[in-house]
């Protein structure tokens, strides 16, 4: 099959919308991606400079309130509520971008990279951290070089906190000797295994250890949450990672860590790993070998320039095979549902907090994708079968039947909605169901619950 607008919208975006024209072809998708990014400002999210003080304030007030004075309890509750409201607004605005943006590919990429570089809030007070991390470390580099994204990732407190880098201290460093502290391998291992080379690549436990040694010194100020490179915590001496020597300067330098990240980013294993993950995420759980080869080649030739890799994917015939090989993940399903219904920005912005938490965020958890809480640093599974199980499919059906009608007061005629939601991808089964439903609510629910809509 060749490029067509329905596939462009469904496979590479958040689906069709009655108000937004789908991209005509690969060139249109790329043009939007390489243009400006207005929705980031239209639907803003809280930056780290806001998230961190709120977290600190809540944690402090909780400690104070445990000491017992009655007004501190009230203050603590207020701080906690403020933090929850900020997080719920962040969720709604991330959803808004997916629902309202003409440049759906950018939002899909943002989700892809947020999974590739998973960050989870390890304590409830840091609920805003994953959003700030994705906005600051990933979004500016969606259209840049992978190596630059990688550097932004390892210098953001979100990742440093999630993978324990802040508590990894060179045992023979000044801080290590004084406090008797030592190494934590977590970030070093996941950088090689998940973020760059991939677990099948030829690296050893010694490489992990040496890389973890090299990464010591990456940390942040605990009170302000500002990145800092602390040479006093860096393990002295040079490290040998994948056969190359780094560091050894006194004092230790961030530049040596960056040099290693540049080298690792440019290795063919990394190119293959990133190309495969993108192809699996967007096109098929078992992607065409030629597609992956083309993307890997584009990565190597461009020096890891991500738009070249995306373009190699979008211009390959295998990227335009007929729809249905993959299943929309729950967030995509929810966003695509609202997009197909043409929900106005005001309707989403006006959702009460309790509704957002129970019917949206809570529903994602019941569908198997608790928001920003991937089960581990490897992010979300890709296989279709991992997402469609009795209990998680039940949650999709339940949401499709009950929730859209509470956001959109006038649900569309299900017979027209089939076409609005699926275009020429609607099969006869879903058209029949839409025609025979007893109510508008159920008809719309059936279209959204259909396999045609849940696949992409």
């Amino acid at each position: 099959m060749s490029a067509n607008p329905t596939i462009a919208a469904i496979r590479f975006g958040f689906g069709l919308s009655p108000h937004i024209a789908p991209p005509a072809n690969a060139a249109a998708i790329m043009a939007a991606l390489l243009g400006p990014d207005p929705v980031a400002a239209t639907f803003p999210v809280a930056p780290l400079t806001e998230v961190w003080p709120l977290a600190m304030a809540e944690a402090q007030l909780r400690r104070d309130s445990k000491l017992g004075a009655p007004d501190t309890v009230a203050h603590y509750r207020a701080a906690r509520q403020q933090n929850r409201i900020m997080a719920a607004q962040g969720f709604v605005n991330i959803l808004q971008r997916a629902v309202q943006s003409p440049d759906g590919f950018r939002e899909r990429l943002q989700n892809f990279w947020s999974g590739h570089f998973t960050v989870v809030a390890k304590q409830a007070v840091f609920i805003g951290l994953p959003t700030a991390f994705a906005e600051e470390a990933l979004r500016p580099h969606l259209t840049g070089r992978f190596a630059d994204m990688l550097k932004a990732v390892v210098t953001h407190p979100g990742m440093l906190a999630y993978l324990d880098q802040n508590s990894s201290i060179g045992p023979d460093s000044r801080v290590g000797r004084r406090k008797g502290r030592g190494l934590n391998e977590n970030l070093g291992r996941e950088l090689l295994e998940l973020h760059t080379l991939g677990v099948g690549a030829g690296y050893s436990q010694t490489d992990v250890r040496q890389f973890a040694d090299l990464l010591t010194g990456l940390s942040y100020t605990p009170k302000q949450g500002q990145f800092r490179f602390d040479p006093a915590a860096a393990e002295p001496g040079a490290e040998l990672v994948l056969g190359r020597r780094y560091g050894g300067e006194q004092p230790a330098r961030l530049a040596d860590i960056f040099a290693a990240l540049e080298d690792i980013a440019h290795r063919p294993e990394t190119a293959h790993h990133i190309a495969t993950k993108l192809a699996v995420h967007f096109v098929s759980d078992t992607p065409d070998a030629g597609l992956v080869t083309a993307m890997t080649g584009a990565y190597m030739q461009s020096g890891g320039l991500l738009p070249s890799v995306y373009e190699a994917m979008l211009t390959h015939p295998a990227a335009w095979a007929s729809l249905g090989a993959k299943v929309r993940q729950p967030f995509d399903f929810m966003a695509a549902s609202l997009r197909a219904l043409g929900v106005a920005p005001e309707a989403l912005a006006g959702m009460p907090l309790v509704f957002v938490v129970r019917q949206m965020v809570g529903a994602l958890a019941r569908m198997g994708q608790p928001f920003q809480r991937a089960p581990g640093p490897n992010g979300w599974p890709e296989a279709a079968a991992a997402w469609i199980e009795p209990q998680t499919l039940a949650a999709r059906i339940q949401w499709a039947m009950a929730v859209p009608g509470r956001i959109v007061p006038d649900l569309p005629d299900p017979r027209e909605f089939v076409t609005a939601a699926l275009g020429d991808a609607a099969g006869p089964g879903v058209k029949d169901a839409a025609r025979q439903a007893e109510t508008r609510r159920e008809g719309v629910g059936l279209v959204l619950a259909s396999a045609d809509f849940n696949r992409r």
């Binding site: 190494l183 291992r189 809570g362 608790p370 396999a451």
Partner: protein
């Protein structure tokens, strides 16, 4: 530990509402009459718990009598009152609620066990190998089914209800061609009769959606129509809160289900292990006690095995935690096990005895214990276990873990 503050995937409140619904007999329901005609060929129950994240076996069953051990753990276990198990071992204090089971011979451990996975210490590969039940000679990506599923493939006359994956985690250990059921106790549908017919028709030609929906509807029916027939089990004051997944699993195991599998996550204690592991083990104790309560008379025919992808480093790391290791501990519980004992050959934890100078040296394959459990419970042939269920495994001598 990880709590984003939003509604948890399995809300305790929702469960408490639904536990009233599942605490009753299901036999009167029309849906079940066809199902219950097919009897499972076995009477014994097997519960497989996958402890994801790598449980620190050296902290759970501590080799306090090994002279080298004390030097490795200076902050993690400092000053807490481990419970003597006899010999060189002592139990983590958070498992105190299980001590009556230990004394009754219904709780045991196998120490210094591992899968054949070595050196890369990746959680994800480690769990895949644990659940695939293969050796390192087979590429993990090539394995499409889990060892529990391969065991079921060889047994005639099973129904989908014989084996149950509980909860929202993917359970690769049960995946594969042999039919099995899966459900989370908080799922609901709420469909009109017409919508249901249309949904079934719409899914008819898509096996992935059709099969999942059929099972969802069948299970939702059972739970929805059982209202008012029972009340949640009363919990004595001070007892750990019951685990909803375990309660649901027990309910199924008292009916026609014989095998249940589910996950307990959160064992990756890179930092603050003292606090984190305490909470994890309290949860594990609650799971086992909830199973015992829920299984009632069937507990005496039950074997619970809890396994993890690998152990953790012998030395604590720089942040009050431990990093990924190799040898670890398997937990055995139930009325069918010969407990009150720590099984296995102890390799010692002196520097020279450690694997790669950092991890507990495995002296037995965790699959061998699982294989002997299945042989004891279901009479499976050693050849089938060593060739099909766990290809390439040498089961060795019978350790005698079952009564």
């Amino acid at each position: 530990m990880i709590n984003g503050g939003f509604e948890a995937p399995l809300s305790r409140r929702v469960f408490l509402k639904s536990s009233a619904l599942i605490g009753c007999s299901l036999a009167a329901e029309p849906f079940l009459t066809t199902m219950t005609l097919a009897q499972a060929p076995w009477d014994h129950r097997l519960v497989v718990l996958i402890l994801r994240g790598a449980m620190d076996g050296l902290d759970v069953v501590r080799p306090v009598g090994d002279p080298a051990f004390a030097g490795y753990r200076t902050t993690i276990a400092e000053g807490d009152a481990a419970l003597p198990l006899g010999g060189i071992f002592a139990l983590h204090p958070a498992l105190a609620p299980l001590m009556p089971l230990w004394h009754a011979g219904q709780l045991g451990f196998a120490h210094a066990v591992s899968t054949p996975y070595r050196d890369k210490r990746s959680h994800f590969d480690g769990q895949d190998i644990l659940e695939a039940g293969t050796g390192m000679d087979v590429p993990v990506a090539a394995v499409r089914d889990g060892w529990l599923n391969r065991m079921l493939q060889g047994v005639p006359g099973l129904t989908a209800q014989t084996a149950f994956a509980v909860g929202r985690d993917e359970m690769k250990v049960l995946m594969g061609p042999a039919a099995h059921a899966s459900w989370a106790p908080d799922a609901r549908l709420g469909l009109s009769a017409q919508s249901r017919v249309l949904l079934e028709r719409m899914y008819h030609d898509d096996p992935l959606f059709r099969d999942a929906a059929q099972e969802a509807m069948a299970l939702a029916d059972r739970l929805d129509t059982g209202g008012g027939m029972g009340a949640p089990v009363a919990v004595p004051a001070g007892a750990p809160k019951p685990d909803p997944l375990a309660a649901f699993a027990a309910e199924r195991l008292r009916e026609e289900t014989r095998i249940a599998a589910f996950s307990i996550n959160g064992w990756d204690t890179h930092r603050a292990q003292r606090a984190v592991l305490h909470g994890q083990l309290a949860g594990l104790a609650a799971t086992i006690l909830t199973l015992r309560e829920g299984l009632g008379p069937v507990w005496k025919k039950t074997t619970v095995i809890a396994m993890t992808e690998f152990g953790r480093t012998a030395r604590e790391n720089g942040s009050g935690g431990t990093d990924h290791g190799t040898g670890g501990v398997m937990v055995l519980a139930g009325g069918a096990v010969r407990g009150g004992k720590v099984y296995g050959k102890w390799p010692g934890v002196a520097e020279s005895a450690l694997y790669a100078g950092r991890d507990l040296m495995p002296t037995a394959d965790v699959r061998a214990y699982a294989a002997w459990a299945m042989r004891g419970l279901y009479g499976l042939d050693t050849g089938v276990l060593e060739k099909t269920v766990f290809p390439g495994l040498d089961m060795g001598n019978n350790p005698g873990i079952l009564l």
